[in-house]
Symmetry: C2
């Protein structure tokens, strides 16, 4: 029978904060469109919250609110579970319980996916259900689905992402207003772009989780947050940002995932650190708290995906997109494309990763200094792209940009330089990423 | 039985030009990755060409080449057909034959999808097979899948696309070098960015086909190329481009799709024309022959997708992405998300579409001119955002930017102005799109 009113699919939402309340709102206000796109109505089965009486942006039907998330996800009639609690536990146990009970799951939980995706994906495989998490990286920007599906016939070689809005806001303010890190962070906190405890953002933990997820999908290899080399932006100074400007570049906190040639064949490199990128690079113009992910692949070339990386409605949009896909799959009784880790490439340690460095030195202004600085680089097999010297009385400033070399060699060079008698101070050290097209020469 | 060597899926490729030869190359060089991602090997069943002996970028195994495309798509063992011939016929008949014979189809054919998608989608529905065409719009940039799937839980309100690389190259050259249209076009032809007969690109036919496809997906409504108002760039002058610059804007050929309030409720507006957009708009920085599609939606906000819009390898990347999806669906014996036109909104005629205008007039420099010009706008119910007057001896130049008004009222205003005694010439008329953020004030 071709029923005009197919059986509704029941949706349980875990968590009703900034994102959860928008998910509930969209489920209600878009219900007709959603039904047309899924092929069956989506019906809210329940919303699990910790504090039923907390103020929210959405009216929750009283009968649907529960504090017993576990019982909700285990209900026989629940087809789809949206997890927007965040953190490792109880989110992980609840997702596992949901899959075990036969529900498909949509999650926005980057920390959990990056730390223990393997357990969750295995559970989804065992249950034959979907586990989607587009909202975990770059909020509303569709990036995981394009990596998983649109680029499935191509070979991704590099992903460079501005995946943390807070740090991009801070660095953008430092760039546009010349302010220091502390001042810019304070402004971000005042405007609601940074948490009272900004550690997860500022020290790069959030961006590292996203790098792990991006690298896993791009290279069909399991990469966890622990595999990602991580440096935050708290040591970036106003002078670093000014130096970048002088060189036609801007400082961004980047999530960098690369397919590289390792000692034993292809390998993956995944890292998060502040870096100078030339103003001509499309990522350089990503301002304020916006996110963008730049993808390089063999056939497609250079792609960029840009949009709001956080916030209730944008994140809820990504969650709902996944929910429609998962629901459609329930209607056709199939699973969507799942994670593959068949490539199983080794993750290269940071020391072996190839990067370029921008180094600024205060040195004595006398004959032979330039030669001995150049010698220090040569000793460590690092070749130089440019050296610029500016005398200022009895001292001089040297700005050196290296060619690509291993991070270990570059670090060793910096150590050697720091110990040299006529080097007064290594005043700035920063990696250089993106095509340079002469901008940093 | 869990077979380690599942049955290969057989792929027929129709056409072996710039795109087809890259598709064949990727199928061969990426075969292991493709097999892992699909869950079964993809095997080239045959390549249909018109001239078997033409020189190509790829070595075709002699036994696989045929001039009988019809027989190839009707072969029982062909599971997937890639159509990269282009044009309406024989592409349409071949796609219909392929679907009828039970194959899934991947096409890069924007003209055909925009003109007669309805027939093709109905055939795909009847056959229960996939018909994917990501490569038809903006080459390698994943934009159709994000519209169809990632944003399925959101409400798209506007799509602004730079979807034609040739015209973007020409306009970019006019902007950066101050050259005229003819000169810039000649350069584009010399560099291979424009065809010897550039009509399809320059007069906006190509961009209109893409606008129809984007509007159909964004608004779940059937929009054909004939529904799209179309103006090309051949009348854009160096002086228009210079005027735009003066106002902090740049001229782009845009594919514009909007969800608007029509006389009888929601409606769709779809149009292609040159327009000024402020330099602060993300589309303004799309240079050379690059494409980008800017999407506004209620929850996700402002997203942009950027990348190469044409060329063999990028287009082949998009084709292969679709091919992997269609192949995976064959393995699981399901269909992917298909087109929906449930919203079935009316398409608003251009006259009713709301836009803004930038108008430049040479007028007599005497008292009362400004008042009577302002009066002409008021007569047609068009309110003004700014008027700037510059005296130059006995004549003056007036630059007027209107607020949003219907295109019919704006056109009527321009006619009235042209007929006024003290108006020596209406020297430039161009629509203004994108958020202005003061750039055009």
């Amino acid at each position: 029978m071709n029923s005009p009113h197919p059986t509704p699919l029941k949706v349980a939402v875990l968590g009703c904060g900034v994102v959860g309340s928008q998910v509930v709102r969209l489920l209600t206000t878009q219900s007709e469109d959603l039904a047309a796109r899924v092929g069956a109505p989506l019906e809210l089965a329940g919303v699990a919250v910790r504090r039923p009486d907390a103020p929210r942006d959405v009216d929750l039907p009283a009968g649907l609110v529960t504090t017993d998330a576990e019982a909700l996800v285990r209900r026989d009639d629940v087809d789809l579970v949206v997890e927007v609690i965040g953190g490792i536990e109880p989110a992980r146990s609840l997702i596992l319980a949901a899959l075990e009970s036969g529900a498909s799951v949509v999650s926005a939980n980057k920390a959990l996916i990056a730390e223990d995706g393997a357990t969750l994906f295995a559970a989804a495989d065992a249950a034959g259900r979907d586990l989607f998490y587009e909202a975990a990286v770059a909020g509303a920007i569709p990036i995981l689905r394009p990596l998983r599906e649109s680029l499935a016939g191509d070979r991704v070689t590099r992903v460079l992402g501005i995946t943390n809005g807070t740090t991009n806001f801070v660095l953008d303010r430092m760039d546009s207003q010349g302010s220091g890190f502390a001042e810019a962070l304070e402004e971000a906190q005042r405007l609601g772009y940074a948490e009272a405890d900004p550690t997860a953002d500022v020290e790069g933990f959030d961006a590292a989780a996203k790098a792990a997820i991006l690298a896993s999908l791009a290279f069909h290899t399991r990469v966890t947050a622990n595999d990602v080399h991580r440096e935050g932006i708290s040591e970036v100074t106003a002078s670093d940002v000014a130096s970048a400007r002088e060189m036609g570049a801007v400082v961004k906190l980047l999530s960098i995932c690369e397919l590289v040639e390792g000692p034993d064949g292809p390998a993956v490199s995944a890292r998060v650190h502040p870096a100078m990128i030339p103003l001509s690079h499309p990522l350089a113009s990503v301002r304020e708290a916006y996110n963008a992910v730049f993808v390089e692949s063999e056939a497609a070339g250079r792609l960029m995906f840009y949009g709001p990386g956080a916030g209730g409605p944008p994140t809820a949009s990504a969650v709902l997109g996944d929910l429609v896909s998962a629901a459609r799959n329930r209607v056709s009784q199939v699973r969507g494309a799942a994670e593959t880790t068949y490539a199983d490439l080794p993750v290269l340690p940071m020391g072996r990763t190839q990067t370029r460095y921008h180094i600024q030195l205060d040195v004595d202004d006398k004959a032979g200094v330039l030669a001995s600085v150049a010698q220090a680089f040569a000793e460590h097999d690092v070749s130089l792209q440019t050296v610029r010297q500016e005398g200022r009385g009895d001292d001089a400033q040297l700005v050196v940009v290296s060619h690509r070399a291993s991070d270990a060699d570059l670090s060793a060079t910096v150590e050697t330089l720091s110990a040299m008698a006529w080097v007064r101070e290594v005043s700035s050290v920063m990696r250089v990423e993106g095509d340079t097209e002469g901008a940093l020469s």
